[in-house]
């Protein structure tokens, strides 16, 4: 209420209040017209019934005829009631109608008073009728009715006093006493009407003010909605830009990682390439020797067929064989071929891993073999850890495929492996002969896959643990870490996959990062839960998606 009182209401509100008041009073007067239409019809019927019961016939000895009161009740009563009933039915709510109703009702009283022989009890019909007429909430109607009563009593009191007062000897001014009693009632009725009209106008004013307040509220809601829509639109644009930047950042991170790995990968490729080349050279030189021996063998065979073999020719061939060192070649050539193929396979593996790692990925999650993804990442990152640590893979072969963004998962694993290598490097820098161990383990754990990446590095100090997932937070020396590695892991596993990242660490002993990825996409799980919440769900129970977690077949590799 305080708020409304502070509002300023324009003149239109007063006009609206007046309109509402008029509307309401109009409805009341129409309803009252309808009520009187019924009331007067019932009164007419009741008058006819009373006449038929009280004075049905007039007599002359043995003969009789219908009493005049019956005809009066039927026709005069019908005329008195008919016109107001017609108006009330056809023109409800009009001033003329209610004045005719008032006059008709008072004349009905007059008729009933006369037919009842001027019984004083019948005069109560006048007072009751005035009270009914007050429902119109129109003082003019009361005035009309009062004038009719006064005139009726004045005229009949003057010329036929018995019919109205029940006595012949009434004073000529007795009608004024009757009129005074009517005015006495009128006083209360008019006061009541005035009070009711004021109350109705107050209600109309309140309603008009409420409507105005509602309009203001709606207007503000519209304005605020437009502002919000504008803000939402801006936020959507900003969100799109942020997502684009995130994509670009992720790509940059990946390219940066690839760039950082490039030197090591080049070295990884160079080593097999070198011994593939060396072996190829050996095979070419061996082939030259073998080709001479074979050529000599061909000539010797032709000479034998033509009986041209001489002792010199045989000695020369023997010398050639001795110089070729065939025993050595028989032994080394297969080894060289195997080594060459091994080197080629190794390069191919690195290239495949690079290709998989650098794949731009899809926009939607796809079921992925996490073990294979881990193996690729381990291969790509080999140069990061091979000088300081051994890396053990303990991968559960039956691990179900997990819906994920593979490139993001690879990036996360790479970051954790690099961090592990750096931690081990820091731990063993004073003991160059000592090597650390990085262990990567995968397991099925109920509704999610668990990936544990452990190292035997320095561990994480208590003081920095709350901050390790914050962007740009790093404890590494300048140039070795950007501080984004773990924040990317967190964003990838928690935000993009709906998974979880925790860690266990002991300073001086090492750290284990634990990644948990749900087997069922959380979005799909939510939709499924909603479907199952539906009553009378006819959907079949979903097939179990998880493979058994107690598979005894574990794979352990040392790379």
């Amino acid at each position: 209420m305080q708020a409304t009182s502070q509002l300023e209401f324009p003149a239109a509100t007063e006009e609206r209040a007046a309109a509402l008041f008029g509307q309401q009073i109009g409805i009341i007067r129409q309803q009252t017209d309808r009520m009187f239409a019924w009331l007067m019809a019932i009164q007419w019927l009741a008058g006819v019934v009373c006449a038929l019961v009280i004075s049905p016939q007039a007599w002359e000895g043995l003969s009789s005829r219908t009493h005049l009161h019956v005809w009066a009740a039927v026709f005069l009563g019908g005329v008195i009631s008919g016109f107001p009933v017609y108006l009330a039915w056809r023109y409800p709510g009009q001033a003329f109608t209610r004045h005719v109703v008032a006059v008709g009702q008072m004349l009905t009283s007059a008729l009933l008073i006369h037919l009842s022989g001027g019984r004083i009890e019948t005069h109560f019909h006048i007072f009751g009728s005035l009270a009914f007429l007050a429902i119109y909430q129109d003082w003019r109607v009361i005035l009309s009715a009062t004038i009719v009563v006064a005139l009726d009593h004045a005229l009949r009191g003057t010329f036929w006093p018995q019919s109205v007062f029940g006595v012949l000897t009434a004073s000529p001014w007795r009608w004024t006493e009757h009129a005074a009693w009517v005015l006495f009632e009128d006083t209360f009725l008019l006061l009541s009407i005035r009070h009711n009209l004021r109350a109705m106008f107050h209600v109309a004013e309140h309603q008009a003010k409420l409507e105005r307040i509602n309009e203001l509220i709606e207007q503000r809601v519209v304005e605020r909605t437009q502002e919000l829509e504008h803000e939402i639109s801006e936020r959507k644009v900003a969100e799109r830009e942020r997502q684009m930047m995130e994509v670009q950042l992720r790509q940059s991170q990946k390219l940066e990682a690839i760039g950082q790995l490039a030197a090591g990968i080049a070295h990884e490729i160079n080593t097999p390439t070198q011994y593939v080349g060396d072996n190829a050279h050996f095979l070419r030189e061996s082939w030259d020797v073998l080709a001479k021996v074979l050529h000599n063998h061909q000539e010797l065979l032709i000479a034998l067929k033509e009986n041209r073999v001489t002792e010199e020719t045989a000695e020369a061939a023997e010398a050639l064989l001795d110089g070729a060192d065939l025993d050595f070649l028989y032994k080394q050539i297969p080894i060289s071929i195997s080594a060459t193929l091994d080197g080629v396979e190794r390069v191919a593996k690195i290239v495949r891993a690079m290709k998989e790692f650098a794949h731009p990925g899809s926009k939607e999650k796809t079921p992925a073999d996490l073990n294979h993804a881990i193996e690729s990442t381990v291969t790509v990152s080999r140069s990061e850890w091979r000088y300081v640590a051994d890396l053990k893979l303990d991968l559960e072969p039956s691990l179900p495929r997990v819906p994920c963004f593979v490139e993001a998962f690879n990036q996360s694993v790479l970051n954790l492996i690099v961090n592990a290598a750096h931690a081990i490097e820091a731990a063993v820098k004073d003991c160059p002969e000592t090597r650390g161990t990085i262990t990567i383990q995968t397991r099925s754990r109920g509704d999610h896959a668990e990936i544990r990446i452990s190292d035997t590095g320095t561990g994480i100090a208590e003081s920095v643990r709350p901050h390790i997932f914050e962007p740009f937070f790093t404890t590494k020396e300048v140039g070795k870490g950007s501080g984004q590695g773990l924040s990317i892991v967190y964003a990838s596993i928690v935000n993009r996959h709906g998974g979880d990242v925790t860690f266990e660490s002991q300073v001086g002993k090492g750290t284990t990062f634990i990644l948990r990825l749900p087997f069922v996409d959380p979005k799909a799980r939510t939709q499924e839960a909603m479907l199952q919440a539906l009553p009378y769900n006819s959907l079949a129970a979903p097939a179990p998606l998880l493979a058994t977690a107690d598979s005894s077949l574990q794979r352990s590799l040392t790379v």
Binding site: A58, G61, L62, V79, F96, L111, Q162, G166, L168, T169
Partner: protein, 201 residues
Amino acid sequence: MATLWVAAIALGMFAVLNHSYTPGDDSGVAPQNWPVRSGISVVSGKPTLVMFVHPKCPCTRASVNELAILMTRCQDRVNAHVMVVNPTGVPADWPNTSLVQSARRVPGVAVGMDDKGREARLFGANTSGLVVLYDGSGRLLFSGGITGARGHEGDNDGLSYVVGVLHGEAPAQAKAPAFGCSLFNPESMADSTNLCKQPVN
């Protein structure tokens, strides 16, 4: 339309009022002295009041009610009778009406049957509700109605006169119009007139 409506109502009201204030047949003349042939019992030295009623006349109920008022004021001063007129040829239940029962309930009033309207004819009564009042010596004091209009109760000249006479006040009027149904058929009125015009001393 409204004017026509008002005019129709005025006309109707006038007709109703005119009917109410039109007295019944007053052609009969009550004998100045108590008719000796009357079978109505009298008490010597006490005024006798007789009301003749048509048992089915609705207007007469007001007369009976006025009689009741009169008796509450003058019961010990008058010997009152209500004679229910039973014309010739009426069925047996003719007088069994609520009006007659009301008359029986009026204190101090003796209700008698006037077969063939003999008593009514003797007293020149043609209209239901007509009252005749004779003093203790049989002299006519009043003849007329004790209502002011048809079926209308309330103070009126006839009642006031009767009450005044019974209380020993100077008579101011010996006659008042009677309002009610005819006691006899029009064709039998001639006999009544002849009877009433006969010497009754």
